[in-house]
């Protein structure tokens, strides 16, 4: 329903519009059936060239850094910036709550929204733990 509405927008805008509704979506191109990297969305001529699919929310940790220096008033250090790879393939910059000491390359993550509605990724609990 909202998907049809957002189909009319430029792709990066549509991605953000879905997120405002707390939906993480990825764009699947026709006819290749491949999910399009976010960085390549601007190169897709039209939303009619594919469709927005709801992402599984499963991801893995590609890399992470910890800012120790204050660059901006809204970002008091320390804070973590992460690059995550969605199960569908595209890579996103985001953040992960928790102690970076506990992070490991390629560890499983799950998409979530923080109290401000910002997309974040949480470490996926191991089966049988909470």
């Amino acid at each position: 329903m909202s998907g049809a509405v957002h189909q009319a927008q430029p792709l990066p805008d549509a991605f953000l519009a879905f997120l405002r509704e707390r939906e993480l979506r990825v764009f699947r191109a026709r006819p290749t059936g491949e999910f399009v990297d976010f960085a390549a969305l601007g190169g897709v001529a039209s939303a009619a060239d594919g469709e927005w699919i709801r992402a599984s929310g499963r991801a893995r940790l590609y890399s992470w850094v910890v800012y120790r220096r204050q660059y901006h008033a809204d970002f008091p250090p320390p804070y973590t910036v992460a690059a995550v790879v969605l199960e569908e393939g595209p890579l996103l910059i985001s953040t992960i709550p928790g102690d970076p000491q506990d992070f490991a390359l390629d560890m499983p993550l799950t998409a979530a929204f923080d109290e401000t509605g910002r997309l974040i990724f949480k470490p996926t609990p191991l089966p049988g733990t909470r």
């Binding site: 590609y62 800012y67 970002f75 996103l92 910059i93």
Partner: protein, 391 residues
């Protein structure tokens, strides 16, 4: 059967280099130009080409084509200002080479100038801006990914985790550069550096400490490029350019299923193919190291080390003084001066012309020089040699 070089650098010059304000971008550029012309023994009136690069982060137009007027030059046959981020300076030398090779110009000055260090001594703010890698407006700002440092740190962390590289390897790189800087009287950071000092350096963006980052400087550097034929008349030995290549492959370093290689790999292959050499022939390298990681990574990207091997290679001393692959012999961007690509280009020319003084290296038959910028996106490389003909 040998291959003749395509151009020659016959002069190298710098302005004063300082961590304090010492003049405008244009004034410093003109001072470096004068020094390079004097070094080449070439009169200003003899210049018929001028190429310019300013920092991409500085206000636009600080070193534009009107520098011709400021520098008091005549009817130029070639004039341009180049912008390709960290690959600009190497690209500038490539353009000068093509121009003299094609007969468009005979004597071309290539000048870089920058004034990032403010009166208070800080330069960090010069490099602060959100770095876009997603292509979605404002996305990185939401997560505080500021500066190129954040993106390079992300690439570094993945590289380090994949290959078991730790802070001792980053430190070894910074220490090797500092040892080279001790022999470069122009280098701004020449004090002894050991692992303890490195570890005492504060983190900026983990895994990078201050000592993993290029050393911002106010100043300029210039080289004079001419034809191989004209170089025979030069008053001092020339540094010859044999190979040129570029590689621009987007965010290949962040391709989820890629092997981490960037456009640098293509740039290196292309430059080496033009020169008729292989990575095994390279006896020295001068690398654009905005961060310690950049130096380690380039060794692998350019095929000088296998995947994951650069950390141990550097820690074993192979890139330092007395090592078998001397690298960034003036101290590089970390310990000498961050002239954004003019540092490796000028250092290659200094070494090839035998002007290295205390840091002069004996074995420099085939030198790899690179420039890289953006978020590991834009790359250009040169193969240089003291020999007019490479066999």
């Amino acid at each position: 059967m040998g291959r003749l070089a395509r151009s020659a650098i016959i002069g190298v010059g710098f302005s004063a280099l300082s961590r304090k304000p010492i003049g405008s971008v244009s004034e410093l550029a003109n001072a470096a130009l004068s020094a390079a012309l004097a070094d080449a023994g070439v009169a200003r009136a003899e210049l018929d080409g001028l190429l310019l690069v300013q920092s991409e982060l500085a206000e636009r137009g600080l070193l534009g084509v009107r520098a011709r007027d400021d520098f008091g030059l005549g009817d130029l046959a070639l004039l341009n200002a180049i912008e390709a981020k960290g690959s600009s300076v190497v690209q500038m030398v490539q353009l000068a080479t093509m121009a003299v090779d094609a007969g468009l110009a005979r004597m071309v000055a290539c000048v870089f100038s920058d004034t990032p260090v403010a009166a208070g001594g800080g330069a960090g703010q010069s490099y602060v801006r959100p770095t876009a890698i997603s292509g979605i407006d404002g996305w990185e700002e939401r997560y505080g990914l500021f500066g190129a440092i954040g993106v390079y740190a992300l690439a570094a962390r993945r590289y380090m985790e994949r290959f078991g590289i730790d802070e001792t390897h980053l430190a070894a790189y910074a220490i090797a550069c500092r040892r080279w800087a001790a022999g470069n009287s122009l280098a701004l950071a020449r004090g002894a550096l050991d692992l303890g000092t490195y570890r005492a350096s504060p983190f900026v963006v983990e895994p990078f400490r201050v000592l993993d980052c290029a050393l911002p400087v106010n100043g300029a550097g210039a080289v004079i490029v001419t034809s191989v034929a004209r170089a025979a008349d030069a008053k001092a030995p020339a540094a010859y350019i044999h190979g040129m290549g570029q590689g621009h492959d987007g965010h290949s370093a962040f391709r989820p299923n890629g092997n981490g290689a960037t456009g640098g790999r293509s740039a290196g292959r292309r430059a080496m193919a033009m020169a008729g050499v292989t990575p095994a022939d390279v006896t020295m390298c001068q690398i654009y190291d905005a961060f310690s990681f950049s130096g380690l990574f380039a060794l692998e990207d350019y095929g000088l080390c296998g995947p994951g091997e650069a950390g141990a290679f550097v820690a074993d001393g192979h890139t330092g003084p007395d090592g078998r692959l001397p690298m960034n012999t003036g101290g590089g961007h970390l310990s000498s001066y961050y002239l954004q690509g003019m540092t490796p280009v000028s250092e290659a020319a200094i070494q090839l012309r035998g002007q290295g003084g205390a840091r002069q290296v004996a074995r420099n038959d085939v030198v790899l020089v690179n420039g890289s910028g953006g978020c590991l996106e834009f790359h250009a490389a040169l193969i240089m040699s003291p020999h007019r003909v490479l066999s």
